[in-house]
Subunit: 283 residues, 4 copies
């Protein structure tokens, strides 16, 4: 069944819900899901509304134009997504392949509403996995000197494949500010700590040395500042003095897989809105 999803954010005002729901009702739209949130601090209104296109009076290609008239009145930022336009997601990875494997298995099981046309890595480790899932693999090693030119290659590749979003499945390279800008709020990273604790490299070692009793994993949109983007999802697991750094890694990897896959799923389902470097997640 073909569906449309409308995402809105704007200053809160009387009549917002009435206006939007009337727009759907008068055009014979059947709402299947609706969520809203008012951020009291900034007086911002957020809405996600999902309706069946069957019988909807406005043809798909004109919906956005028609809705823009309402949006204009209310100073809305909005986007409309159609279930028939399946997002195209690239996966970047490096040496650790557990997150890649996990994403691909869920992808094959149909948990993600997307197509994965390519996998990129700066290392060769994931090549055979990509092959076993029949997904083109591009090994693009990054060095300080080649970084700029590699990013250009990557961007060309992503453009050619019409990539909508990127999942960083334990990809270890830091992107340039200009690359990040292109995929703003569309590039999802997994950091293997309970952010904002243990930013940067080797967070399990950091956690071990600090002697915490719980470790975590955090999935966030990438911004120019390292591990500081809007957090989409986090989870934690209990550890003890008996756990070595290797035990932390093993326990943490289970979190990483689950947290990244949840974030990817929420993003692909258009359930995440970003504002003020934070997320509204309509679960």
């Amino acid at each position: 069944m073909s569906k449309a999803i409308l995402l809105i954010s704007c200053p809160d005002r009387k009549g917002l819900v009435a206006k939007v729901s009337n727009f759907l009702y008068t055009n014979n739209g059947n709402i299947e899901n609706a969520d809203q949130h008012i951020d009291a601090q900034t007086n911002t209104f957020f809405m996600r509304i999902e309706w069946a296109l069957k019988g909807f009076k406005i043809p798909k290609e004109k919906i956005s134009g028609e809705f823009a008239k309402i949006a204009h009145v209310f100073d809305m930022r909005f986007s409309i997504h159609y279930s028939s336009d399946v997002p195209r997601m690239a996966v970047f990875t490096s040496r650790f392949t557990h997150c890649l494997y996990d994403l691909l298995l869920r992808y094959r099981e149909g948990q993600f509403n997307c197509v994965v046309p390519l996998i990129v890595s700066n290392h060769p480790d994931a090549k055979s996995i990509a092959k076993s899932f029949d997904i083109p693999f591009f090994q693009l090693p990054v060095a300080k000197k080649t970084k700029k030119s590699i990013e250009r290659k990557e961007l060309a590749l992503l453009k050619k494949e019409k990539i909508d979003c990127i999942a960083l499945a334990r990809y270890t390279q830091i992107f340039s500010e200009s690359f990040v800008k292109v995929f703003e709020n569309r590039m999802i990273n997994i950091h293997h700590s309970f952010l904002p604790a243990f930013i940067g490299s080797n967070p399990y070692k950091q956690a071990y040395l600090r002697g915490v009793k719980i470790i975590g994993a955090s999935s966030h949109y990438v911004t120019k500042e390292l591990d500081a983007g809007p957090i989409i999802e986090q989870d934690t697991v209990r550890i003890s003095h008996r756990d070595s750094v290797a035990d932390l890694r093993r326990k943490g990897e289970d979190l990483e897989k689950i947290v990244l896959s949840r974030a990817v799923r929420l993003h692909l389902s258009r359930k995440v809105l970003v504002y003020n470097n934070k997320t509204v997640v309509f679960e």
Copy 2:
């Protein structure tokens, strides 16, 4: 600030949200919170909508009558609650007073939107606690023979004090079907297990004997069937072979307090709707 909360459940149909939001908008209502849910299995629509009464064109005493016209068209069951009508909650308890204490401390801190005009117990243990919180205490011991007459007394007392809902803070007596009927979906119990496991008496002992690795607590509306009513909230905590029944009790009591207080808070905030012996909880 005076607010109204409207709770709706009805068969799902096109135009429901538009109709309700128009009702508010055309009467100059400012929506401060709205949540909805469609149960796909039964095609049932649920809504909770909260708006500021300031400037609302319909006077408070006429809102229900006006809305009934819409409700009639859509076969809605609905209720309207006003923040100015503070619910009156009775607390029943027995020998274990940790949940009672916890509720009263939260009540004093202002966590609950209610008035507690009385505490009832079949034991004397809570008397001094009630006194220290300046709440009238009624000791009504129940025996097989006296059960009927005691329940009559209780009902008279609750009626006299205009009690809206009852929190059972580890109250050990089982109510008659007729008593339960009077407080249908308004009497909240805490059961010290992860329901539906370990129904009935001494669930910590049952859990210990079964050798589970996690224990729980469950808060639910009381129905005529023991520990089988609609679940409002649950939580769990990890245990190990090192934990005795006494350890389970100690760990479990922390859960009981938190789970009961969450359920009471959700109920008093009018965030719980019941259908099919289940709950929709608009958190």
Copy 3:
């Protein structure tokens, strides 16, 4: 580094620890790990002790005989395991392959101290997975009529391959009492509910209908009574009224994988002792 692990259970008495640790010390054993537990209810002593074999004065093949002299005095049940004797684990599965996949990926990553010489299934679904991991696959469909003869085949196969333990990765057939007896405390099942709630088939549907707010998964040794064996590990995850049965399945499968793999890992590390249909787990 070659190690030995000694597991003991016996009535508690003075001098147990001294006797065991002296046995190791006087034979030049270096303890690397030791755990003990006294079950106060039954006055039973449990111990797990791990030591390096390098420099140990008693040759490996005589250790058990020597220790038996002590064991006799204290009425001990004991077993000694050597890191050089890698356990051989069979995996049984049916149609749902997520647990199988998860086990095999961890196996390949070296998380399990075992060899997996064969995979058995009553369905063909796992065949290609087995092949991609280079593990022999045996499809043995079970019907009421053929059950006895199939179990005989299975037992012959397991005997031939010297199988020490079996992981049931969502295997849907119920074994006969005699089969269970052969693999007592060596056959690990994953049940997709928070036992003892929702025993039997379709626990996600059961959980959905009951309206619980948390679901779980439980790993246990198989006994003749369905889903009633000693629980090794459990975990839970929060759900809400928004989750359909399919959502419960998706969320639950993440639990199943983690809980089964933890139980398998604990078993293979000789960290689980069984008594009174419960487990002592030395994590």
Copy 4:
């Protein structure tokens, strides 16, 4: 029943367990609990052993001297504690009294093996609570100028009352290095964040602004560096974009109470050993 608890830490060597358990066995001691841990990184051995004094051949006042002979040989740091010597714990608090209340209720219920001879606060808020629990209350307001002299008063008070340890139940003053030194590894703080995230003041506001999806609480021994001491216990709870700072505070306070009480209980049960600014917790 009178018991002794022996805590040991020393470089790991062969024969440690044998030596200690022989000491107990030859003196007719019945071990009721024993836990040990080897930190592989630093090759350090930790042990906690608990035995019944009834029938023990060495009189209580001579045990320490006798054991010192063994300790000397193995370079052990050790301490022996007797269940008959009930620890004396002071509680310090400020304006927020939920942790104080929680500790006192558990204290009255018998959850803590201690005596609380006094409550100290820099504010008057807890006065009536102290009175209702019949515990002497000392209001000692701290200002920059008076800090030194107040700390002298506090130390005198604590000395006079023979205080063994201090629970800081949301006490907001920072102690001087010399004060901290006196109560090294004996002063337990609760910090209302998941350390090391959100050190310092107003962690709930910090968490809100960062947009985390989970908040936490951490209990640790106080060291001269703010919120950087050895962590004893932590716990976390899920939040969402719907939660205001006030909601974070409410949810977090439940964690604070539980985490602080667990840490206090573990400390009083002599189950915590400190090394390298980390803890070994023998639960």
